[in-house]
Structure formats: structure tokens, C-alpha cells
Symmetry: C2
Subunit: 341 residues, 2 copies
């Protein structure tokens, strides 16, 4: 009874390649007292996983060499020796990149919402960490107010596309996306309903932004860091809020990180720049999930999932996040038999 796993064997320089990870086979874990055995169904592929592969300070320790790659996902409880879990339940937590995982006191799982008529990929996207990140980043860290001019980078991405739609639904004066290439920009406007989308690959982003937001940006939701963050800082409005959610432009960087030159604009415009991690909101997840579920069921929240099939494809799926080759939330299906009620 094997447990196929993807382990980190070499720290990547730049993007992950075939020498970074290795597919190994271990014995399936045995369920001890107070534990539950979970068969992994689907992995959530998130940019932050790439940061855990570096030997650098982060909000979690680096993944050790020889360890299974860390990551969240869903699965189904197949055996339980804990009152907390029941056989047949679909649960969410840190599955890591493998076929089987134990729920323990140190590794807890939460029940995935069912009965909404939504498939597992959709729930993992909009009701999972992606949607929840978008919700709290915008409303709590960013303190979004009606009438705000909101700019979102990575606007065609899983988090960014949800941020813009929540902002529209909550009365933003204008929602402007930033994305790479005409195809993604068209998707941001036509599918996700942003008012405009600026194509950073076209060049002249500073000029594009000034024309798009002549009164300045009240709230900037940053998924990318680097040069785009620096450009938006030049055009912040008074009392602007800059929400630092991620810095995907820097995660694969091999040289020095790109320095941000315009932090002084936070003095000039009395702005605030603040970072967060969604897990800080763990005891408030249900607050976001209920709002997001209502929006999805009302047809107010468009979403897209990019499902890659097979555990062994997880490293390639991670690279899609950086190449822009994905469309929407990237997931890896490990076991196609799991269905939500």
C-alpha cells in the first residue's frame, strides 16, 4: 500500500525544474489513536509554495531537503480514530504533495462546505484560501470603502480576479486591473467585469496608470511586487492603502531583488503599506466563505479553475503560475473519484 510523494531534493535557482523534486514511494501512513487517514483529492497550487523552497526567512520555515513539498489541499477521510473526523467527509488542510496524509493534533483539517451544488475545484478556489485571501485583504487589511479607486495586479489570476469583483460589488468608484498581455487584459474586463485593465507588457505603465486614475489610487492590492508596485506607489491618492498580498515577480528572481524606490510617496500622500497572511484570519474564515458563497450562487462572482491531472504534474503546475500559462486558479487533481454533495 504505497503513498506516492513529491519530495524536495534540490533548492531551485530560478524556476523549478526536473532536478528540484523527485517522485518517491513511501508506505501509506498508519492511523494512530486520535488520528484520521485522508486520501488526498486535489492540491491547491499557490505562488507561496515557491518561497518555501528557498533557504530564506519566511512566515514558515523552508521546506527541508528530502521532505515532502508543503502545500494545502483537500481529501476524503477514509479511516478515523478521532472524534473530530468522520469517514466520508471531505476536508481541507495541509495535505502536502502526496496521495495520503494523516490528520493529527499538529495537522488539523477543516470540513469543506457541501450542499451548495458546486464542484470541488470551485469550492477550493472561491471558498478556499484564494477567495478568503482576496476577501480579507481587500476588506480588512485594505479597509475598502465605497467610492474607492481600486487597482489590482495579477488581475487575471485566482486572487486578483476575485478581489476586483468584490470591490465592484462593494461600490468601488473604479476597479482597474493590471495583467500581462492583451488576452488576459480582455478576460479581466469582459469576464471579471473590471472597468479597465492595463497591460504591463505593453510598456509605459506609469503613463497608463496616470491616465486611468487621474485622481490617484485609493487602494492597491499587490500580488506581484517589484516594478509594478513601484509604479503604483508614484500614483497613490491621499491616505492610500497598499495591501501586500504577494510578490510573485520576485519569487523566481535569481539576482538581487528589485528595490522599491518610491516608498517616500507614503509620506507625501500619508499612505499605508501593509502585509498579511491569510492564515492570520483562520478563526474568521466562515465570515468570508458565507459572503463568497452567496456571491457565487447569485452569479456575482465569476471564477475559473485550471485543473492539472496527476500528482506527478504538480511541479509543472507550480511553474505555470510564473509563466502566466495558467488561466484562473491552478489545482492538481490527485484522485478524480472525490465528488462533493
Amino acid at each position: 500500500m504505497d503513498n506516492r510523494q513529491i519530495v524536495l531534493v534540490r533548492r531551485p535557482v530560478g524556476q523549478v525544474d526536473s532536478s528540484t523534486t523527485s517522485l518517491v514511494s513511501s508506505p501509506r501512513p498508519v492511523c494512530g489513536e486520535g488520528e484520521a487517514l485522508i486520501k488526498v483529492a486535489m492540491l491547491s497550487i499557490d505562488p507561496t509554495i515557491r518561497t518555501w523552497m528557498d533557504d530564506a526567512p519566511g512566515y514558515l520555515p523552508p521546506i527541508g531537503l528530502g521532505d515532502v513539498v508543503r502545500g494545502s489541499g483537500t481529501g476524503v477521510v477514509v479511516e478515523s480514530r478521532s472524534e473530530r473526523y468522520h469517514v466520508g467527509e471531505v476536508v481541507f488542510g495541509m495535505t502536502d504533495w502526496q496521495e495520503w496524509v494523516l490528520a493529527t493534533d499538529d495537522r488539523r483539517f477543516s470540513v469543506v462546505p457541501q450542499g451548495l451544488g458546486l464542484d470541488l475545484a470551485t469550492v477550493m478556489n472561491v471558498l478556499g484560501v484564494t477567495g478568503i485571501t482576496a476577501f480579507f485583504g481587500l476588506t480588512d487589511v485594505g479597509q475598502m470603502k465605497e467610492g474607492d479607486v481600486v487597482v489590482v495586479s495579477g488581475a487575471a489570476g485566482a486572487t486578483g480576479s476575485v478581489v476586483g469583483q468584490i470591490a465592484k460589488a462593494r461600490g468601488a468608484a473604479k476597479v482597474v486591473g493590471i495583467a500581462g498581455g492583451p488576452e488576459k487584459c480582455a478576460e479581466v474586463v469582459e469576464k471579471y467585469g473590471f472597468d479597465e485593465c492595463l497591460d504591463y507588457r505593453q510598456g509605459g505603465l506609469r503613463q497608463q496608470l496616470t491616465e486611468s486614475c487621474p485622481q490617484g489610487v485609493d487602494l492597491y492590492f499587490d500580488n506581484v511586487g517589484g516594478e509594478i508596485l513601484d509604479v503604483v506607489l508614484t500614483n497613490v491618492a491621499m491616505h492610500a492603502r497598499v495591501v501586500l498580498c504577494g510578490a510573485i515577480s520576485q519569487y523566481n528572481a535569481t539576482g538581487a531583488r528589485r528595490g522599491i524606490e518610491n516608498t517616500s510617496m507614503l509620506i507625501v500622500r500619508r499612505g499605508r503599506m501593509e502585509g498579511f497572511i491569510v492564515s492570520d484570519y483562520a478563526n474568521r474564515f466562515v465570515e468570508a466563505q458565507t459572503v463568497l458563497a452567496a456571491m457565487v450562487l447569485a452569479g456575482q462572482l465569476r471564477h475559473q479553475e485550471h485543473v492539472v491531472h496527476g500528482l506527478e504534474k504538480a511541479p509543472e503546475a507550480l511553474n505555470l503560475l510564473f509563466s502566466g500559462g495558467n488561466h484562473g486558479k491552478t489545482l492538481v487533481e490527485v484522485d478524480e473519484s472525490v465528488r462533493l454533495g
Copy 2:
């Protein structure tokens, strides 16, 4: 009846030199209905004045070429055709760099606190914008709490030295200054009572800071920007607050501004970086002034003023802020006859 004035004639590249300003003589202004004529006593020399000389976006428009250099100061009311001002009062406001100025509806002055037994220079320092900036930056923007590890750059400077003393008085676990050279560092510890002072000129600041604050920095009050800001960001504690008060290291910079590479630490540690301008607190100045006055009178607030004599010396006095040649708050005495009661 002349009014000697210092006007901006050329935008400086790097530091101010003899070609930047010119001393001119204009007719003394005539006091109209609703106005008051003020004889300027003392100018406050602040780093921000240098930023107004550049043709760049700021919280106030650039000083126009041919215009009197902008700046705050004190003076005495010598004629009044306004109910707001009374002859003989000592007042504070935007005097600009000249001997005479009119108080008008657009240019209002406030009364300088008297009766405390303090001289004008002291009042302009600790009860003026310098002390008020320190107070609100630390307590309001920085939300300082008892037990915080507080780091202050420009610690021997007018603002920094006050910040550290307020932090000590309010129960900081540790107050660490950053200053340039052994003499200033000794002053920060021995005179202003900081627990430690790190000498950035000595090199290895990152290592010095890690050793000084092994649990990380809860609150960083930044007066300098640039490389020192970047180093402190590498060592912020969870939920750290970075108060951006000024970026004096960048104001005379002639090349590209130095980029900040470690903004991602605000995500990792869920930190907040926020800028402010003291004038935002105009309607709360008295709140700071009463606390600061009590501290001075109780001997809890050490302070030092560096008074330069003569209006014509104002440009040189401004350069002292950047060369480190000043000790304490830099002021230019324009009329030595003005005394507080």
C-alpha cells in the same frame, strides 16, 4: 523700510550651494484690513525644506523659482488689523525665509506658548513641529505600546532624540538609536538616555541590529530612508509598525533613489509601513504640546538647539542637516530682540 528675503534662484543638484539662493531686498509688506504684520524672530530649519526646492511631486507644491524659500518660524506681531492677532504676541507659522511677513486668511499663525520659563529656541524645538512630529509619529502612527522594542534612526537629531525619550517614558522594553559616528552615538545614550546606539558608519549595521534586537523590532521610527530603512526591514518583529517620518538620506541624492529591497518582510511578518506629515495633526497640536511641556518641566526631556545667527546664513544652516554638522534642532535667529515671557 526693507524686507530682506532669501529667494530660490536655481534648483539645487545635490546640496544647496551659493548659486541656489539669492539674498534680495523688497519693500516691507503693508498690513491690510484683516491682516497683521509680523517681524520674524527665528526660522525652523527642517530637512523637508530641501524637498520643496526640487521640481518633484510632494505634499506641497515645489517652491517657484524667484519665490522666497518656504519655511516655518516665529515672530512678533507689530501691527494688527485683525481680531485674531494682538500687537506684542509671539506667533508661529509659515514665515518663510525673510524678515517680515503678513498674517492673512491664507497664512495663519498660532500663538507660541509662554509663561513656561523656556526660551524661544527651546519652545520652537520641543513644543514646535519637531517635538509634535516625534509625539504623533510614535504614539498615533506607530501606535507605540508598553513593552515594544523601538528603533529610531537619526537618533541624535532633533526629532529622533525626542522620539526615543518619549518611548522610554512610555515603557518601551528597549530603545535603540541609529546615528553616524561615535560622538553622536555617545550623545544618544548618555544625553538622551537611549539603551543603545548603533553606528551605521561603522558598517555591519544588519549584524549590529540583529544582536541588539534578537527578538526583532516592534516599532521603527524612520527619519532617514534608504539603506538603513532596508536593513531594519530585515529584522522586523511580527505586526511591526514602520513609521516613515522622513528620508533625509535621499533628499540630496543626485542619482536614482536607493530602492528598498525588503518590503516583502512586511508580508512575512505582517508589518505595516505608514507615512505622515505633522500638519495632518494641526487640530491636535495642543495634546502633544501639553505632554511635551510637562516632560520638559519635569526634566524628563533633554533637548539641544543649534542656533545660527543671521537670515543670510539660512542656506548654510540647511546644509548642516545633511552633513551632520549640527547638534540638535537647527534654528536661524533673524531678530535676537524677541524674548518669551
